[in-house]
Amino acid sequence: MGCCETSSAGDITDITPEQWAKADEIIARYKGQRGVLIPCLHEIQQVVGYLPLEVQERVAAGLDIPVADVYSVITFYALFTTKPKGKHKVGVCLGTACYVRGGEKILDKVEHALGIKAGDTTPDRLFSIQVMRCIGACGLGPVMTVDDDIYARIKPERVPEVLKKYS
């Protein structure tokens, strides 16, 4: 397999040429500097939404860092994700207060309703689930969020109808 064709924008279906161009701009801005991997990845994730291997290789080549090291950093920090996020981001708080008020049952229900596990995205890319560690709304626990909407004192049986609103 050739060296450049695989990471060209051509065979990536869900990263647009515009996103690639922005990513390249970001990489170019950081090129030649030391200690810039994390801010660079952070900016690119804001543009692309996630950091798949193709993007990691582009960053590695641009910043002259081995891709194994880029992957090491990405998998170390919870901030970074290698999986695309869904159109709607479902968050379930498992901070201490929400946890003791049954946050885990909410998560179980969301996972069951969407057929995916926390951290994953539905095949149709409509929903993704992420676990949150306290969003500062402890008095409202258990808390579930969808995008910017907050559902306070949510009960497991209400989860399906909440999700339905976004389907």
Binding site: C4, T6, E57, A61, V67, D69, Y71, S72, T75
Partner: protein, 577 residues
């Protein structure tokens, strides 16, 4: 920097400031157990086995990363230290599979040895265990992450010694795992398969792909004519596997051991090392005379070849087109020797004993079939050969020395030194000088290209040309040298590069326990073996002369091109995903 004096277990020791407590203890004759520590390469205080008590300190300190200080009072054997060590080791073992009886590293495992020396008889901790699949994607190296203790030695060697960084730690905490980016199989990333990671792995998490089963099978097959070749670096290393002093020269016992295993013919890769010199020496002269691509770079080391194919594909034209001695041997065995001995090459099975894991990859390369068959059928590392000998109850150290068979069994001193960094260069210059100048080099010992320095340079006056040569060992040094060449900062006519530290004597297939000290002892032995041989120049090898007379014609001739030369593949560094 000054010196500091400290007390370790009641012994006073004075060391240069900056020395770690661990090193100071070693100097004082106090042994502290270690696991992740690898001198100068991995000193990160990760495993915590080397903790010690320092008077006045709040907690125990990892001695490998704690600098010795003036007046420091250290205790390595208190109740607190022993309990902490034991707890640390038990925690590591609690996430380790209990497969010791069937593990390739049983008997040479550092974790096993520590458990034994610390008297671990039970594991108090029970909990989740990591489960990852075994990576058998490459023809050279097997990764079994469940046996990994996350010491990071392999990561450090791959990055610092080889400059490759094919692997790193991903994930965090309990989910940490060492491997390539994206958790891809090793075969899908830019790994050179040099095997230096295998040499430093304390457990069985990294090992060579085992070829002993298929070799046993061939040996047991009465229809197969099984021939074996031995690389130059085996004769100065195999003894270590059988308790002999590092640097013991065991050439004759090696031959005897192989014969006892049942090989039909025992030949020497040194024969084709000499052949390589004739082809490569003439290739160099041709390039010098006809304005060919310079510098010409040696092509014997398959780890180095894979490295340049991945990282410097634009410089493939600089590589000598000569196959490595291993592959030249296979091609000659299944043509010239088959014809001479009246054996159908289809019934011939060629085994190589190599100090190298990348050789297993090399023999699988699709272009290595110029005899019309797979030129080399199986490669065994020094370690695998030792395992076969042990299985058969053969201890080479007790055997009477035997001689290689004809007609592929004579090698000169020039071939022996292929095993040490600088050796191929020295061997080539011994021959090239004489071909051009019609007289012997003033001294056959080219000291400038010998030794452990990372990059060495020399000049040799050949008539009206001053030939500038350079020698590099380890891939990190190769990278440095190539960058200098590419930028025009340095210019050479001829470069030798070996992937492994010290050259093949320090290869990734050599005995576990290989370190700088042992490498130096093997290098010493290599030059001693050279001095002791009656013939020290490749072009004086009578069997090689006979091969040209009877079969090949002349160096770089038509038949040579067909059988002894090859081409390379630009691979790039992008993963296959």
């Amino acid at each position: 920097m000054g010196e500091v004096t400290l007390t370790i277990d009641g012994r006073q020791v004075t060391v240069p400031a900056g020395t770690s407590v661990l090193e100071a203890a070693t100097q004082a004759g106090v042994k502290i157990p270690t696991l992740c520590y690898l001198e100068e390469i991995n000193e990160i205080g990760s495993c915590r086995l080397c903790v010690v008590e320092i008077e006045g300190a709040r907690t125990l300190a990892a001695s490998c990363v704690t600098p010795a200080a003036q007046g420091m009072v250290v205790h390595t054997n208190t109740k607190q230290v022993r309990e902490a060590r034991r707890a640390v080791l038990e925690l590591i073992i609690s996430n380790h599979p209990f497969e010791c009886l069937t593990c390739v590293r049983s008997g040479s495992c550092e974790l096993q040895a520590l458990a034994e020396s610390l008297g671990i008889r039970e594991i108090r901790f029970e909990g989740a265990k990591s489960h990852h699949s075994v990576d058998e994607s490459t023809p050279s190296i097997v990764r079994d992450p469940d046996k990994c203790i996350l010491c990071r030695r392999c990561v450090a060697v791959c990055e610092q010694v080889q400059g490759v960084s094919a692997i790193n730690v991903s994930g965090r905490g309990f989910n940490s795992v060492v491997g390539p980016a994206g958790e891809l199989p090793l075969n899908d990333v830019a790994c050179t398969l040099c095997g230096q990671c295998v040499l430093v792995c304390p457990t069985g998490a990294l090992s060579e792909v085992d070829s002993t089963r298929e070799v046993w099978k061939a040996l047991a097959d009465p229809k197969k004519h099984v021939v074996v070749q031995t690389a130059p670096a085996i004769r100065v290393a195999l003894g270590e596997e059988f308790g002999m002093e590092p640097g013991s020269i065991v050439t004759g016992q090696l031959v005897a051991g192989l014969r006892a295993l049942g090989f039909d013919r025992v030949f020497d890769t040194n024969f084709t090392a000499d052949l390589t010199i004739l082809e490569e020496g003439n290739e160099l002269l041709q390039r010098l005379q006809t304005g060919g691509t310079l510098p010409m770079i040696t092509s014997c080391s398959p780890g180095w070849i894979k490295f340049i194919e991945h990282f410097y594909p634009d410089m493939l034209g600089n590589l000598s087109t000569c196959k490595s001695p291993q592959q030249m041997f296979g091609a000659i065995a299944k043509t010239y020797y088959a014809e001479k001995a009246g054996i159908d090459p289809a019934d011939m099975y060629v085994v190589s004993i190599m100090p190298c894991t990348a050789k297993k990859f090399e023999c699988e390369r699709p272009e290595m079939r110029s005899s019309g068959y797979k030129d080399v059928d199986a490669v065994l590392t020094t370690r695998e050969l030792a395992r076969m000998l042990r299985e058969a109850g053969i201890d080479p150290s007790t055997l009477e020395a035997d001689n290689y068979d004809a007609p592929l069994g004579i090698g000169t001193g020039a071939a022996v030194i292929f095993g040490a960094t600088g050796g191929v260069m020295e061997a080539a210059l011994r021959t090239v000088y004489e071909v051009v100048m019609q007289k012997e080099l003033p001294s056959l010992d080219l000291r400038e290209v010998r030794g452990f320095e990372g990059i060495k340079e020399a000049q040799v006056v050949l008539g009206d040309t001053t030939v500038r040569v350079a020698v590099a060992h380890t891939l990190a040094n190769a990278r440095k040298l190539l960058e200098r060449v590419r930028s025009g900062e340095a210019s050479y006519h001829f470069i030798e590069i070996m992937a492994c530290p010290g050259g093949c004597i320090g290869g990734g297939g050599q005995p576990i326990g290989t370190n700088t000290e042992r490498r130096l002892q093997r290098i010493e032995a290599t030059y001693q073996a050279d001095r002791e041989l009656p013939l020290r120049k490749s072009h004086e090898n009578p069997e090689v002369k006979q091969l040209y007379d009877e079969f090949l014609g002349e160096p770089l001739g038509h038949k040579s091109h067909e059988l002894l030369h090859t081409h390379y593949t630009a691979r790039g560094i992008s993963s296959k995903h």
